[in-house]
């Protein structure tokens, strides 16, 4: 993929571009260089002005402060919120935001979130294990008896789409379309705002609107009908709210988990000792998953500055955006011993892969289940595999980081 419309980065401390392929391809080196140069908060004029704090303390402070840092724009793209509103005057503004509750601020946020929490609580999610196992096994069955696979294209990218489609009540046969849209929304933040991209947004809009209309006419036993029936402050949710939340569940539930599973498998393909330890002791997988979540956390969130202010020595302006790189917080040596070392038996692990504070990822229990099952099934079916060095591993662009191509050689089957 080419650079973004903004052109190549000259200096990562003052001119970073989180939407460029170079960022995700070199992310750990970039953070290390910035920190070594004494830069705890990087800045760029791109995207209308964005800050990038790198320490656990700073990330936590911002995540805990919804008054000065609004969640209105979880993805930092080219348009500022006020500009985006000019393009779509019907869009929901603060404190609800376009995709509630991830884009909502207190006090609205807590009520919008409470509606969803029961559907994602551990006791509701854990019984889905069998379904996820079936999905994973079927994907491996479908690969046939070959020695070379692309584990991202043939495995990781399908798992969360199928799970989310089932929860929201979307036809599984449309899974490829959602994945394409999600990739466009999250991966194309720096790309040109072309007619083609706008047309794709319209297609997604129309598809989801029709999906919701069908559920109004024929309620089903799924999250869409649940939301249509739910009330907030004594009133039914607005159609725009339901639309935004469904869009959120699709966007937030797909790329993220796909990336988490992919990075874990990439690590296991590159580290035979760890792979063997987990093949011999599948009981250690849950602890290893937590370490993969720490070391390769896929998700960087974002906030919007609500007013001009000084923050730890920098002058932030109203409507500046602030990235919340939980993955960088997870590699802060003040919070984690030997943060660059991936230790699959790390006992003390307060990682922030699912965020900190009131916006903790609502799907974290589901994501963990999918990661655990996907790795368990993969190791059982393919106890020995390695990277195919004749092919290229590629990484996503944008605020969700994970492998998009994982060429593996399969060396043993279980």
């Amino acid at each position: 993929m080419s650079e973004t419309i903004y052109g190549p980065v000259t200096d990562w401390a003052t001119d970073f571009d989180h939407g460029s392929p170079a960022y995700n391809n070199n992310i750990h080196q970039i953070w290390d260089d910035l920190k070594a140069a004494g830069c705890p908060i990087a800045h760029t004029e791109r995207y209308g002005g964005v800050w990038l704090p790198l320490t656990h303390d700073l990330v936590k402070e911002i995540a805990y402060d919804p008054t000065r840092f609004s969640s209105l724009t979880p993805v930092v793209q080219q348009l500022k919120p006020s500009e985006a509103l000019l393009e779509d005057p019907d869009a929901l503004g603060a404190p609800i935001g376009p995709v509630p509750p991830i884009s909502s601020d207190p006090p609205f946020h807590a009520d919008a979130r409470r509606l969803l929490l029961p559907a994602f609580s551990p006791k509701v999610i854990d019984p889905l294990r069998k379904e996820v196992e079936e999905i994973c096994n079927k994907l491996i069955d479908d690969m046939g008896d070959v020695d070379a696979i692309d584990a991202a294209v043939q495995y990781t990218q399908h798992i969360p789409v199928l799970v989310v489609a089932q929860m929201v009540g979307l036809p599984l046969s449309d899974a490829d379309r959602f994945r394409g849209w999600v990739d466009m929304v999250l991966g194309g933040i720096g790309a040109e705002r072309s007619e083609e991209r706008l047309a794709q947004f319209m297609a997604m809009d129309e598809y989801l609107t029709k999906h919701i209309e069908e559920h109004i006419a024929n309620p089903q036993d799924d999250l869409t009908s649940y939301l249509l029936d739910a009330e907030i402050f004594g009133e039914k949710l607005s159609p725009r709210h339901v639309f935004g939340t469904i869009l959120l569940l699709i966007i937030a539930g797909i790329d993220t988990t796909w990336s988490g599973i992919g990075s874990s498998l990439w690590h296991l393909a590159s580290n035979p000792v760890d792979r063997r330890r987990l093949v011999e002791n599948p009981g250690k997988i849950p602890m290893a998953v937590e370490e993969f979540l720490r070391a390769y956390a896929p998700v960087t969130m974002a906030r919007m500055v609500t007013d001009d202010m000084e923050f730890h020595g920098v002058q932030m302006k109203k409507e500046d955006r602030v990235l919340l790189p939980f993955p960088a917080a997870n590699r802060d040596e003040n919070q984690f011993a030997n943060p660059a070392v991936v230790d699959i038996e790390r006992e003390e692990n307060r990682h922030a892969a699912f965020g900190l504070g009131i916006h903790r990822c609502i799907g974290s229990n589901l994501a963990r289940l999918e990661m655990n099952v996907a790795i368990e099934v993969f190791l059982k079916r393919f106890p020995d595999f390695e990277l195919d060095t004749t092919e290229q591993v590629t990484w996503s662009t944008g605020q969700v980081r994970g492998p998009r191509n994982l060429p593996f050689k399969i060396k043993a089957r279980g």
Partner: protein, 64 residues
């Protein structure tokens, strides 16, 4: 030994319940609370410490 979940800090990461279900439970919203007034039965002290060491919000405390 006793454990305690500060409900004002818990955000439902669910780590304590996953690591030490003998000591913690979660409500319908996924927020955690300690079982049995937080009293840690003998032999489960390490699990209690593990729960503390894995809470991203620093919401769990131990009293000896």
């Amino acid at each position: 030994m006793r454990v305690h979940v500060d409900s004002s800090k818990c955000q439902g990461h669910n780590r304590c319940y996953a690591l030490a279900p003998e000591l913690f439970d979660v409500d319908d919203l996924g927020n955690a609370f300690e079982l049995n007034d937080g009293i840690v039965p003998s032999g489960l002290e390490d699990k209690a410490r593990l729960a503390v060491a894995n809470c991203p919000e620093f919401a769990i405390t131990i009293e000896d």
